[in-house]
Amino acid sequence: MNITLDTLRKEEEVSLRLRSLYEGFGYRKYKMAKFEEYSFYMDNKNFLQSNRVIAFNDADGRLMALKPDVTLSIVKNTNATSEKCEKLYYNENVYRMNMQGREYREINQTGLEFIGSITQYTTLEVIKLALESLKVIHPEYILDISHMGYVMGMLDSLIPDDGLKVKLIECIRQKNLHELEKLCNESEIPSEDTEKIKMLITLSGTFSETLEKSKALILNDTMRNAISELENISRADDGSFRLDFSIINDMNYYNGVIFRGYVAPVPKAVLSGGRYDNLMEKMGRKNLNALGFAVYFDEFDRYFKSSSDLKTDILILYNENTDTELLWSRVNALSGKYRISVSETIPGNQCYSTMEDLRK
């Protein structure tokens, strides 16, 4: 059955392998409706990467939207309680603006969510599954890990002004030391505090080594807890973990550990996730924790060129004088073992390795 597997596009192959990976750890597939009420997204637009969604009126005149995101819908409808957790994964199409913000795209996305009460073990399990998901995509991968508690713990204790905090977060995200220093000087932040925030940016590298270094900057209990959570995660490190505090997600939704996955051929993150208890709280589920991630497939076909693309092993040509019996027996003999294409003329959109000419 090798031919069948070879025929799969990268996206399809990864999707199938991820499914078996997640099912193997007891996560169940969750199939969702395509639409959601428009107002639901507007209430939570900061959670989305872009607030532009495709909206339309349904039969009752309600304003609906094509889903730009799956996590929100899962959280809204979850049956989980603190005693009964929910472990699920999904494979859905979502509709978002492309990078340049010029047009909508249909993006195939797979994700995994754990909702319930999260223990050290569950965190480790989800991180491990994120790591395994990257392995499925490409052998050269990196899982970048950060912790909202560590970053916000430092900023909250050093920077009282919320407006400045927002600007500094932007600098940290861009690893922009020069702009950060300028902003701190303008706002008369003491230089030793500025140095500490600058360290947040420069602290990045292999996980265990950087984790040791980041202990020196602990200012309060929030940061101390963050470090001990990160220490727990280091159990899953296979050498591809990196600690990088420049990953900062929206604090209205995320708390705790957050992470992004990269593979060498793709120029942007292919996996993104984290702990989002704050979103649960916003949705009125204060007693629940949640942790999950999504894998983005949208550009795999561009970066992983399949060798079998557009390729036929044997092209069989025939014409009206060809003996149909002979043609039929050749087709039966070859199909299943080779990729064949039977045609009266040479198809324009295919390459082929050999040609069998049965024309008379």
Binding site: M99, K175, Y262, P267, A269
Partner: protein, 206 residues
């Protein structure tokens, strides 16, 4: 091999001089003026000469690993990249400029001609002023002279062009200079190489 996107033109020449002085030279760049790609296998760099306003796009999409681009372009396009250091080259300000005898009529919609519609919009939104943007691609100074717009938002380096066209700076919007940017994914997989480069640039700049 590291792909470096350089802005074509005067700024690109200065940046190349800087990079070449810290060990990333590529002699072939002087040979042929039509080529857009220059490679030096010995020190593992490939220079791509790109229109300045497109550099950030090449880096964001990963066609180049790193690049040099004006802060003005970054402010306008807001790409998802790391901004690793300030090269202190190509220094200028994004300014609002108007004819010498201009007095703002705050009772009407302000017409702004600019190459930087997003910067202009954000600036006037922060002042809560209603404006109408006219996007132009060059010779912005002409717009207020001919009455096409009330003011312009543009980069001002020395101010000579403004003076020659009887214009003056009325407000400064932002400071700009050349910045060293990196694709986020490329940075992860080439962190040592890129950090080494940034370190050398910072040493040189002090």
């Amino acid at each position: 091999m590291i792909n470096i996107a350089l802005p074509k033109g005067r700024l690109g020449d200065k940046v190349y001089e800087l990079f070449s002085s810290i060990g990333y030279d590529c002699k072939s760049i002087y040979e042929d003026n039509r080529k857009l790609v220059f490679e030096n296998k010995d020190n593992g760099v490939r220079y791509l000469l790109i229109k300045p306003s497109d550099v950030a796009i090449y880096v964001e999409y990963g066609a180049a690993d790193i690049g040099v681009v004006g802060k003005d372009v970054l402010l306008e396009t807001n790409p998802d990249v790391y901004e690793l250091c300030d090269l202190n080259l190509g220094k200028c300000h994004l300014c609002v400029a108007a004819p010498n005898d201009y007095v703002e009529n705050t009772g009407t919609v302000l017409r702004v001609a600019t190459k930087y519609p997003n910067v202009a919009k954000a600036y006037y939104r922060s002042k809560n002023r209603e404006i109408e943007i006219i996007k132009l691609n060059g010779s912005i100074e002409l717009a207020p002279i001919l009455g096409l717009s009330d003011v312009i938002v543009d980069i001002v380096e020395t101010g000579t062009t403004l003076v020659e066209n009887n214009l003056k700076v009325i407000e400064k919007v932002a400071y700009s200079s050349a910045r060293f940017i990196a694709n986020k994914s490329s940075f992860k997989f080439n962190e040592q190489k890129i950090n080494l480069m940034v370190g050398k640039i910072n040493d040189k700049n002090i």
